[in-house]
């Protein structure tokens, strides 16, 4: 469903339509398609009808009235055209006044009698192609010695690193060039020029120098637009040097380059209070900063007190956040524990690919454990049912792995908002030597003083992201640009509808029932597990913000897509007592 254009009125009309169709005997999938609502929403509408009659079906309008009216696409396009036409530099020399900054765009928009926030301005600039992503994100694998030396030297001499790039945009069907300078802190300064001349680059760098008020250390990759010879006038006039990178470096970010360099720069003791490279203290910590700091604190406590810790890795979004936090907690050292993936062998193919690449990229040792006995017995969700499958391939396998490697503390990515029994579990959750959780003898947890003492054979499960909610997780992923499995994003995937859920046919091990034919649908997953047990939702959300938007507008909770929670009431608590994470 296209949530961004859904009004409450329209939504309610569709919900009522959906219930009528159901009463007429249509299948859920059919209804979902006809009324353009996801299956869970249709189910919710039907439930609401069964409970409260027709009056229960419409959802109420939520929240406060909107502050203003969104602009139409045509209006926005016309704004873009005006802005570009009036700010492009034709044949005269360019100066600081020509730089396109967010402030200037914001002022200009406000001058057009529009009420827009700074954030909206930024979004316009991005959508109009005036604030492209930093090319640093395409920089090469391991920065060579030359790069490192250059960055060291720049830092030492208090020169500001800028990443220079050129982009071609269309203006009235004519190609024009956008020159960009990105700083390491994400500031983008750009200028729009009709044509590139040999003096343009030099003028642009001078303008950026004036704007930033510090000497520059430009880094750029060779392209026809940025000819090496064009940088020479600037180098000669300023006596500074630019770094020209060879083409073909890919996939690492400038940030990472800078950080790996920073870690080896401890010899430089000349950092002063006014060093512009230092991050200023916030007035107060935001909720994400507090959550992050708490998780890091917990991870460090474990590493300091445990003998042999391990991090459970489930490949999902919560695991992704946990991994990111682990990298942060021990920086500049690599995280001092391996990752353990308890593999039921029924995960999505895309999850396996992602798992292997991310572990490699972040420098984690990855351990994979499968229940050999379960595999020999041919345990699968189809033949044994979700409950038994989860018990053998997940719960039992986890115990086997912990025993096999002798891990005494295992990090898990469970959150208290996921499920009622988890709301009461401690951060340090003590397990008997038989891996059982005893909810009635939990150790009290006071202040930030965690008790990690235990006897031989006993173990502790530690949940560093206990206090995060699903929304916190998504916001953090968005804010920190944390990579996640592509399955979270919408895509054309083969699915069948089974028991009211859309199940993806990920491989040929999935037995199709009579009348089931995989159909290609635009679906995504809100939660990831074994593919036969994970319901997809129909969605057009292809970006992170789309996902967050869809989640915020959704009417059913996250675990609804997981079949295992539906098995029995209080099922999660029972599983946990038996040792399921």
């Amino acid at each position: 469903m296209n949530t961004s254009s859904t009004t409450i009125k329209d939504l309610n009309a569709r919900r009522i339509d959906a219930v009528k169709r159901r009463l007429a005997g249509e299948s859920l999938a059919k209804i979902s398609q006809s009324v353009d609502l996801s299956v869970p929403t249709v189910v919710a509408a039907i439930k609401a009808f069964e409970k409260n009659g027709w009056g229960g079906v419409p959802v109420k309008k939520r929240g406060r009235p909107t502050r203003g009216k969104a602009l139409s696409t045509a209006q926005i396009d016309s704004l873009r055209l005006h802005w570009m036409e009036q700010s492009i530099v034709a044949d005269k020399a360019l100066s600081e006044a020509n730089l396109l900054t967010i402030d200037r765009l914001h002022n200009w928009l406000c001058g057009q009698e529009l009420t827009v926030s700074a954030a909206t301005t930024q979004r316009y600039a991005r959508n109009w192609g005036l604030a492209p992503a930093s090319p640093a994100q395409r920089l090469g694998s391991k920065p060579g010695g030359e790069v490192k030396r250059y960055i060291d030297q720049a830092r030492h001499n208090k020169r500001r690193l800028v990443w220079v790039s050129a982009h071609t945009l269309q203006l009235n069907n004519e190609p024009v060039t956008l020159l960009c300078a990105h700083t390491a802190r994400g500031l983008c300064l750009s200028v729009l020029v009709q044509q590139l001349h040999s003096h343009t680059l030099s003028e642009f760098l001078s303008a950026v120098t004036t704007h930033l008020g510090t000497a520059l250390a430009p880094v750029m990759q060779l392209s026809p637009a940025l000819e090496k010879s064009w940088i020479l006038p600037w180098q000669t006039s300023t006596g500074l040097k630019a770094l020209i990178l060879p083409p073909g470096m890919e996939s690492n970010t400038l940030e990472r380059t800078l950080k790996s360099t920073a870690s080896t720069m401890t010899a430089l003791k000349d950092i002063k209070d006014n060093d512009s490279n230092l991050l200023l203290a916030p007035e107060r910590l935001t909720h994400l900063q507090r959550l992050e700091a708490e998780s890091i604190h917990i991870m460090r406590e474990v590493v300091a007190e445990a003998e042999n810790p391990v991090m459970m890795y489930s490949v999902g979004k919560d695991s992704a956040v946990m991994l990111h936090l682990a990298v942060k907690a021990f920086y500049p050292a690599p995280p001092p524990f391996p990752l353990l993936h308890v593999d039921t062998t029924w995960k999505f193919k895309a999850m396996y690919e992602f798992r292997d690449s991310i572990a490699k990229e972040l420098g984690f040792e990855l351990l994979v454990h499968q229940n050999e006995e379960g595999i020999r017995q041919g345990v699968s969700p189809f033949t044994h049912g979700s409950e038994l499958h989860t018990d053998i391939m997940k719960t039992q396998a986890l115990k086997q792995a912990l025993d096999k490697y002798g891990f005494d503390v295992a990090f898990g990515g469970a959150r208290r908002d996921e499920e009622k029994s988890r709301a009461k579990e401690r951060v340090f959750s003590f397990r008997t030597s038989a891996h059982r959780w005893e909810p009635k003898s939990q150790r009290p947890e006071l202040w930030n003083l965690y008790n990690a003492k235990k006897r031989q054979g006993e173990s502790i499960r530690v949940f560093p992201i206990s206090n995060w909610t699903e929304l916190d997780i998504w916001q953090y992923i968005h804010q920190q640009s944390i990579p996640i499995v592509p399955l979270y994003f919408s895509g054309e995937r083969p699915v069948v509808e089974r028991d009211g859920q859309l199940i993806m046919v990920d491989d040929d091990r999935m037995p199709l029932r009579d009348g089931e034919t995989p159909e290609m649908k635009r679906v995504r997953f809100r939660t990831l597990g074994c593919y036969p047990l994970t319901g997809a939702v129909e969605s057009n959300a292809t970006t992170l913000t789309d996902i967050i938007q869809e989640m915020l507008l959704a009417t059913t909770s996250e675990r609804q897509g997981r079949l295992i929670d539906h098995d029995t009431s209080a099922s999660m608590e029972k599983k946990k007592q038996e040792g399921y994470f």
Binding site: S4, S5, T6, A44, K47, K51, G63, P65, A70, S117, A119, Q122, A262, T266, I271, D273, D275, N277, L278, L280, R284, L285, T286, H287, L288, L291, A293, I296, R300, E301, A304, K328, Y331, P332, A333, R416, D417, K420, A423, K424, P439, R443, P444, E445, L446, W447, L449, K454, N467, T469, E470, L471, Q475, Q479, T545, I548, Q549, M551, L552, S557
Partner: protein, 636 residues
Amino acid sequence: MNQPNHDLIASDIDAYLNQHENKSLLRFITCGSVDDGKSTLIGRLLYESKVLFEDQLDAVASDSKKWGTQGKAMDFALLVDGLAAEREQGITIDVAYRFFATDHRKFIVADTPGHEQYTRNMVTGASTCDAAVILCDARQGVLTQTRRHSYLLSLLGIRNVVLAVNKMDLMKYDESVYEDIVEDYQAFAKEIGLNNVTAIPMSALAGDNILVRSDQMPWYHGPTLLSYLETAEVNDEHRKTAPFRMPVQWVNRPNLNFRGFAGTVASGSIKPGDTIRVQPSGKTSSIARIVTHDGDLAEAIPGQSITLTLNDEIDVSRGDVISTTDEPASTADQFETTLVWMHDEPMHSGRPYWLKIGTKTVSATITQIKHEVNVNTLEHTAAKQLELNAIGVCNISTDQPIAFDAFADNQETGSFILIDRVSNHTVGAGMLHFALRRSANIHMQATDVNKERRAELKGQKPAVVWFTGLSGAGKSTVANLVEKKLAAAGHHTYLLDGDNVRHGLNKDLGFTDADRVENIRRIGEVAGLMVDAGMIVLTAFISPFRSERALARSIVGEDEFIEVYVETPLAVAEERDPKGLYKKARRGELKNFTGIDSPYEAPENAEILVDTGTLSAEQAAERVVAEMRKRGLLES
């Protein structure tokens, strides 16, 4: 999740995210008597802030039919009761954490039980909170449990407290009912030092004064519950003005060029260049960098997890506290504390427990229970032990000095937990008041020339040879002979003799038990200093009490302390009576004389036992020197 910002989300998700990624976070606890409606209040908050999904509401609706206590209406309490057992019993038996958010804040709610036996859970829940909501049933007024929970909140130093007078709907929203309860409560609050209490009349069930102002109570002009919670000050912000403290969690040493000290800022702020003191060692340096994965910081504030690097290579390890040099923490090993006992097995004084404060774990003993506090009446009663949920004021002694602040000044560095050494359970929670004796303001000065270096110069192993025994047993005689032999062998020694010391250092002390204890404590300290100076010290004192000899042993150090019991039957000593003291004592001219009218506690495990009834003084001295040689203190 259905946020109230439906339209903003739909029209401009980026603007929404920008706003919502920068909220603050408040943790609060709800407490009060059974059936005051805590769970209903939390359910209401979740419902009002639209964090519930349809499927969750469906589940609650179906649960309400099965277990609900509200007839056909939705029972919000079922949203927050989690464990199957308690759901069936209809009571909350543990702390449950719940989450919701408004446009301005994210909230973490700890829901805690009202039953007396679960006081420990409430203390647990409150320990991490910035604010507390105490519920009070308008029909019942202030109950014993309301008082108990309020006392616990004051004990835990909660700074923002709301008295939620609930179920106003059942009292016809009558202002006088509310006023009476508030007056009653405020008088009590003052008594226990809860000064910042805001009272709000409400009905959680009907939603009055929760999110929106109630039409039913036009006489009330204060904030609604949510508007209060949205503006209450978070502890981290309050701690910003306190002196800088950071307990070191972990030493980060990825390579030879980097040595960082990871921790969470407990209070105050720090900048590169600031001078710091590492406690309890007392070494000083200055901050080189504040390292984080996001980049180096110009300043760190409370709550941030950071890694500090220093400009000097000094010894810092996990458990140390980094403080600013101008306002360092105190260091001590004996404290007065308030202790909350949290385990079925009662607390015994004298038993060693693990004590974890900040990131340091040490061995600790409760030396004295001064009194127990009756949480219902606040009366002080004498106690020999603390039972589960008991609260007592106790003296605690640790086996090594720790850096701390009074809990009233700094909750982060003034709180600790006690852990049972056998079961590993967290058995107690404590708040430090002050250090005993005058050690609070004294900081260990680190010196560059240390004991090993001094001993090396003297070419010997420093030690204390502690002679104990009755007056006239021959301690001074034997000690004197031992010293002569050691000096002849080229050792640097000093003999501390009881009578000589009492002419100078201890001339203010008499012979009561208390003075004898102090006498020996001073000798122990002096001997400790001399050992630190690299000397071999011999002491000849009656030192009649085991505990003080044990104290001296702990000051000096187990490996360097040799206890010599000069054993002589009382009759033999009295027969010798070299100074004529026994005769005086027998005549009653000398009070508190050991062996006559003051006890002598013979050593149970002395390293050396010499019986001067059968050995000559010379033989006894030989025996002592031989034993020292055997223990590797002298070269053979």
